[in-house]
């Protein structure tokens, strides 16, 4: 498979990653969110594997397998178990309405394209155009965290951001050195366990996972 075709396929997969991010942005059902997150992780690991094959970087294969096991299998499983155990209501509310959120998402895509222009000019990799998509995924994850009122969706937004960052690393630089990748994966794993524990605490203390409940710590104006 020569470079051109690989680059095209990679662009395709980047488009799907972005689509998954938007899908998560507008989804209200928690199970669908978890599935979309798993899909995004799958696309990510495929993309990493392709880049590793074309650029002959074998450590990317390891990253790809790591992403696959962590983000496609383990994390969605943990989330699923949490949702079932805590008997979470299957819908999440939003702060803004859906069309407006989508518009803001599109604006963020344009913004991140603009922002990564200098990097794109300097890069010599086949994946340089996907850096904008990666940054857009990060921003959309951030948007998701801001516009949602449910703890689980906030966490999924956080994980989507991590996905975007991982994608950015593969786009800009063919992946960070392996030790860094491993460390980041470890951090994500620990974060997953911590928020799992967190949900239990929140649930037992507040009896619900609506984050509106958690706004007592404020100053009197």
């Amino acid at each position: 498979m020569n470079i051109q075709i690989a680059a095209q396929i990679n662009s395709f997969i980047a488009a799907f990653v972005l689509l998954a991010a938007f899908g998560m942005l507008v989804q209200k059902r928690i199970y669908s969110l978890i599935h979309l997150f798993a899909w995004q992780g799958l696309f990510l690991s495929i993309s990493t594997a392709i880049v590793g094959y074309v650029a002959n970087k074998h450590h990317l294969y390891i990253s790809s397998i790591l992403t696959l096991s962590l983000k496609v299998v383990l994390l969605p499983y943990i989330l699923h178990v949490l949702v079932v155990r805590l008997k979470i209501r299957k819908q999440a509310e939003t702060v803004l309405n859906i069309p407006l959120t989508m518009m803001i998402g599109i604006a963020l895509v344009i913004f991140s394209y603009h922002l990564t222009a200098p990097v794109r000019e300097l890069s010599t990799l086949i994946t340089r155009s996907t850096l904008a998509v990666a940054l857009a995924t990060v921003m959309i994850g951030l948007l998701m965290m801001i516009t949602r009122k449910h703890a689980v969706t906030q966490i999924i937004g956080f994980l989507a951001m991590e996905n975007g960052l991982f994608f950015a690393a593969t786009s800009a630089t063919y992946g960070m050195p392996l030790v860094v990748e491993l460390g980041v994966a470890l951090d994500v794993l620990i974060a997953a366990f911590i928020f799992g524990i967190f949900f239990f605490h929140i649930h037992s203390t507040f009896d619900s996972l609506d984050v509106k409940q958690m706004s007592r710590l404020k100053e009197d104006l």
């Binding site: 200098p118 300097l122 956080f158 991590e162 460390g183 980041v184 951090d187 911590i194 409940q213 007592r216």
Partner: protein, 481 residues
């Protein structure tokens, strides 16, 4: 030396996970921290005699900048461990923490120290990020240790906001690696700070400025700069007091350390003062917002958290300003603020235990009730507000001098912030220490040593800076040019 420094906390963390609730667990905690401190001194002496050293196959790098922070970290963690012994014993008796909670607390305490040392001593910017995240993660559940609604909310905010911030910092690191790869080739070598600082002139300026923006947002969130500071007052006030002390005293310093390391690279590449200007802007904003917020606080630990934000703002401003005097002042400021703030938190912790509340209106009569706590708090506040002859006055004076010389237009803001903070702090502390002892005040055994030690040090440094400290700072200043 390095091995002991890193290995002891890690080993202690593992051990305390199992035996953290026994009677002698706090003593083990203290012993571990003391060993770490000794190792820290040893390392410092080595660096003092032989200059900056690389170790672990270029994985670790120790120079004047991070070695003095290492000594500070190990010292404060040791004294906090001493304080924590009395304090947590009391909390355990009152049932605020359970059996598992104690084990978790002690274990995570040591893990946190390990993460901080890793952050300080590593040469690899990627590992720096990982350690920073590790430090955050090990303290998140500690903040929610008491399991009250407020504590959980504080821990959640801490987790989410710092997580978001640090994700931005990761993106900045990726961009940095991207720029470094062009010059240094691929692989782990390109992320080593020693290599990067050598070639910083040939790194792409546009990419590095973009990277710096992300790094600023990311590590700036951890430093507690406005407008990314929302998690700080909550997290520092809801956790157990020893954790507040180390968070305020140490973690903020380390985040600032990370930021400054990156700034050095960016300055070398762009050659302009942009990075410094950004830091100065954020610093002044933090000072002003924090100072005004101080006026409205009702909770004692929240108030002092805002004071931490303010002082970190001062240090950020000074690092941003650059130049030998300001940098010296900033380094000194990091040192004395750490000592003074942790001392304040020690006294505040005991005061709140005595009155079973953290609201300042209910805390009274500390001079009569428990003179050590009362006078400790009084001196602590005097120190933190910047009165002579305490060390903070010296550092603030240096910073002001440099500001008037290099950037005179910023001076009024600085002075305004410092003045408002001064007034706010004294207004609150005065009724707390003076007056009659209320009947709900309970006596308790106070941990004398940490408070006395810290305040003495701050006082001494204020009056006379020892030679080796002077030397250290000057070397560090040279490095940060």
């Amino acid at each position: 030396m390095l091995l002991i420094l890193l290995g002891v906390p890690l080993f202690a963390a593992a051990a305390l996970a199992f035996i953290g609730d026994r009677r002698y667990a706090p003593e083990i905690n203290i012993a571990g921290s003391a060993a770490t401190f000794a190792a820290g001194i040893g390392l410092a002496l080595e660096v003092y005699n032989t200059g900056p050293m690389l170790a672990g196959g270029k994985f670790f790098f120790v120079d004047a900048f991070n070695v003095y922070l290492s000594v500070l970290t190990s010292f404060v963690s040791m004294t906090t461990a001493i304080f924590s012994r009395r304090y947590m014993r009391r909390e355990r008796e009152h049932g605020r923490v359970g059996h598992v909670g104690m084990r978790f607390y002690h274990s995570m305490y040591q893990m946190f120290i390990f993460a901080m040392f890793l952050c300080l001593l590593t040469n690899n910017i990627g590992v720096l990020w990982i350690a920073m995240e590790l430090a955050t993660l090990s303290t998140v559940l500690l903040v929610s240790l008491y399991r009250t609604p407020r504590a959980i909310e504080a821990a959640w905010k801490y987790f989410i906001l710092c997580g978001v911030g640090i994700a931005q910092a990761l993106f900045g690191t990726v961009l940095l690696y991207f720029a470094a790869e062009k010059v240094l080739g691929e692989g782990g070598e390109a992320l080593l700070w020693t290599n990067l600082s050598r070639v910083s002139g040939s790194l792409e300026p546009t990419v590095l400025s973009l990277a710096f923006v992300f790094l600023m947002v990311g590590y700036g969130t951890k430093v507690g700069l406005v407008p990314l500071h929302n998690w700080l007052p909550d997290a520092h006030s809801e956790g157990p007091t020893p954790i507040s002390a180390v968070l305020s005293g140490l973690l903020l310093n380390i985040a600032l350390y990370a930021l400054v390391r990156c700034k050095v690279l960016v300055d070398g590449s762009t050659g302009t003062h942009h990075a410094g200007d950004i830091m100065m802007g954020f610093g002044v904003l933090s000072i002003l917002v924090a100072a005004y917020s101080l006026l409205r606080q009702k909770d004692i630990k929240r108030m002092f958290s805002y004071s931490s934000i303010e002082h970190m703002g001062i240090a950020t401003f000074a690092f941003g300003l650059g130049g030998p005097i300001a940098t010296f002042g900033a380094l000194l400021h990091m040192l004395v603020h750490s000592l003074a703030k942790s001392s304040i938190f020690f006294t505040v912790g005991h005061a709140s235990q005595m009155h079973q509340t953290q609201e300042m209106e209910r805390i009274k009569g500390l001079f009569k009730g428990n003179p050590l706590v009362g006078w400790g708090l009084m001196f602590g506040v005097m120190a933190i507000a910047g009165m002579p002859p305490f060390g903070i006055f010296t550092s603030e004076f240096l910073i002001l001098t440099a500001t008037i010389k290099d950037a005179p237009l910023w001076t009024p803001f600085l002075l305004l912030g410092l003045g408002v903070a001064f007034a706010a702090l004294f207004r609150r502390v005065q009724p707390m220490v003076a007056g009659e002892v209320p009947e709900y005040q309970k006596p308790l055994k106070v941990a004398h040593v940490p408070v006395v030690l810290h305040m003495l040090l701050v006082l001494i440094i204020g009056i006379y800076i020892p030679d080796f400290l002077n030397q250290w700072f000057h070397t560090a200043v040279e490095l940060l040019k």
